[in-house]
């Protein structure tokens, strides 16, 4: 999958740069900024993001979503390391392997990618005391619509007409990685269907509309964090 690492501007300093936890039992979570793929294979079709979706995401939406995820983790009693910390380590390690895509084929070199993930998890643990690392992303997923609505990843959305068919939608996916680089939990929350039918026929929604509904953003983040927070509540910090 192609990835894109947006810049990680420091936003909401008061929100992000929280002091270290005073309670030794509080778990420390390193957070990465949310990613958005440029394209995804959905039901045998490549869905490629429109430039306007990328622009909306890069200019504003990823700030909102990062903030919602940060607040969600804090509200669960976790100490959150702001995303520039993980981003800095990640970039250094990617530079050390000079990127993890094969220059001849463009394919991901799995061993190098795994090495960067493992190295980042270990460095977050060793340098910042992170018990785990949270990596959120937006995913494009296939959905079936029937009877005027579409349901996926814990949410639903009306289409505006009674229709049946298949299309795609966006979800927020949050993955929890432990300090050995192993994925331990992941959660999903449906964000926005990419189809609607205001005139009785299915149409692609405007790409710019995907992230603008703050209620949907909040619900998707809450759903996606549920599993991760449950896992963290049940497990001991890996010291």
């Amino acid at each position: 999958m192609r990835r894109r690492w947006p810049l990680f501007p420091i936003i909401g300093l008061a929100l992000l740069s929280a002091p270290a936890p005073t309670d030794p039992h509080t778990k420390t979570i390193a957070l990465s900024s949310i990613e958005l793929p440029d394209a995804a294979l959905v039901d045998s079709n490549w869905i490629r993001l429109d430039a306007s979706a990328r622009a909306t995401f890069d200019s504003a939406a990823h700030h909102w979503l990062d903030s919602l995820i940060t607040v969600g983790l804090r509200d669960a009693g976790l100490h959150v390391l702001p995303s520039p910390i993980a981003a800095g380590i990640w970039r250094r390690l990617v530079d050390s392997v000079q990127g993890f895509y094969d220059p001849l084929t463009g394919a991901l070199v799995e061993e190098e990618y795994r090495a960067v993930v493992l190295g980042t998890a270990r460095a977050l643990r060793a340098q910042h005391g992170a018990d785990a690392w949270v990596r959120p992303r937006v995913e494009l997923v296939p959905v079936a619509f029937r009877g005027g609505s579409v349901q996926w990843d814990g949410t639903s959305e009306g289409l505006g007409a009674r229709l049946k068919g298949r299309s795609s939608a966006t979800s927020i996916v949050v993955e929890l990685i432990d300090s050995t680089g192993m994925p331990r939990a992941s959660g999903r929350g449906g964000l926005k269907a990419l189809v609607h039918a205001p005139s009785g026929r299915p149409e692609r929604v405007a790409w710019t509309s995907i992230f603008v509904d703050q209620k949907r953003n909040h619900r998707a983040v809450t759903l996606a964090l549920e599993t991760v927070i449950e896992y963290l509540a049940g497990g001991e910090p890996q010291r």
């Binding site: 192609r2 990835r3 894109r4 294979l41 039901d43 045998s44 079709n45 490549w46 869905i47 490629r48 990617v94 000079q98 990127g99 993890f100 895509y101 094969d102 220059p103 001849l104 084929t105 463009g106 394919a107 991901l108 079936a144 007409a161 009674r162 229709l163 049946k164 068919g165 298949r166 299309s167 189809v195 009785g200 026929r201 299915p202 149409e203 692609r204």
Partner: protein, 243 residues
């Protein structure tokens, strides 16, 4: 109630079928360097079937009077040049670096011309296109294919009634595969470009879209695609026999 499907795919548009045939004076060539059919990554599992398509193109070119540098040789030249110049993908993003790719293409052209006397480079590829379907049939790049959905009189009679809920989607777009052939001269000028449809990549089964498991496994469909993609080539790039 009109019902349709919202499968939106990337459309790799080709010029109109007769755009290249309309050129006044055909180039005359003897040797064509044939590249293997390029397959999108998401169809890479069908590489073996596509190899047979490459062989069919080679046979068609020979039958038309061209001498053909075999696809294995053309591929070896490409790989050697690509490796020598360090590839053309960004190792940080996995994306193509256009300037590096263009320089490798230029160097490959020179190697094919100087090493094998190639006059043109024939580059076939599989492209996924958005095929419009209406009434149970999709049409694109010179062919039509059944979607498996409802069409014809039944759809017409039930449209707008409560019984229309029994119908499967009757119009929209769905992914179809085409064979696209581009022919460049050794200065990089595009001499010819045309596509022939192969088949849909999904069919309706009991109202649900299901992926076609072996899209390149039908020899007659492959032959039709090769014919559609190549039949105007001798008009534009005429074979010069017995050089």
């Amino acid at each position: 109630m009109n019902r349709c499907i919202a499968l939106l795919v990337v459309c790799a548009g080709a010029p109109p079928a007769d755009a290249w045939a309309a050129q006044a004076t055909p180039s005359r060539v003897t040797v064509v360097a044939l590249a293997p059919v390029e397959v999108p990554r998401d169809l890479a599992q069908h590489g073996l079937a596509v190899t047979r398509l490459t062989a069919l193109i080679a046979t068609t070119l020979r039958d038309s009077g061209y001498a053909v540098v075999p696809p294995e040789t053309t591929l070896a030249v490409w790989v050697r040049t690509r490796d020598a110049l360090g590839g053309f993908y960004d190792t940080y993003t996995g994306k193509v670096i256009p300037t590096k790719r263009d320089s490798i293409i230029s160097a490959t052209r020179l190697a094919l011309r100087d090493g094998f006397g190639a006059d043109v480079w024939v580059r076939p590829s599989i492209r996924i296109v958005a095929a419009r379907f209406e009434g149970g049939r999709a049409r694109w790049d010179g062919i039509d294919d059944a979607t498996g959905g409802t069409g014809g009189p039944l759809a017409f009679l039930l449209q707008g009634t409560v019984w229309s809920a029994l119908l499967t989607p009757t119009s929209g777009t769905i992914a179809g595969a085409s064979l696209h052939v581009a022919v460049d001269d050794m200065d990089g000028r595009r001499l010819y470009e045309r596509a022939g449809g192969i088949r849909l990549l999904a069919h309706l089964v009991q109202g649900e879209w299901q992926a076609v498991t072996n899209p390149f496994g039908d020899p007659s469909r492959n032959a039709t695609a090769v014919r559609l993609a190549l039949d105007s080539l001798p008009v534009v790039v005429a074979p010069r026999r017995g050089r």
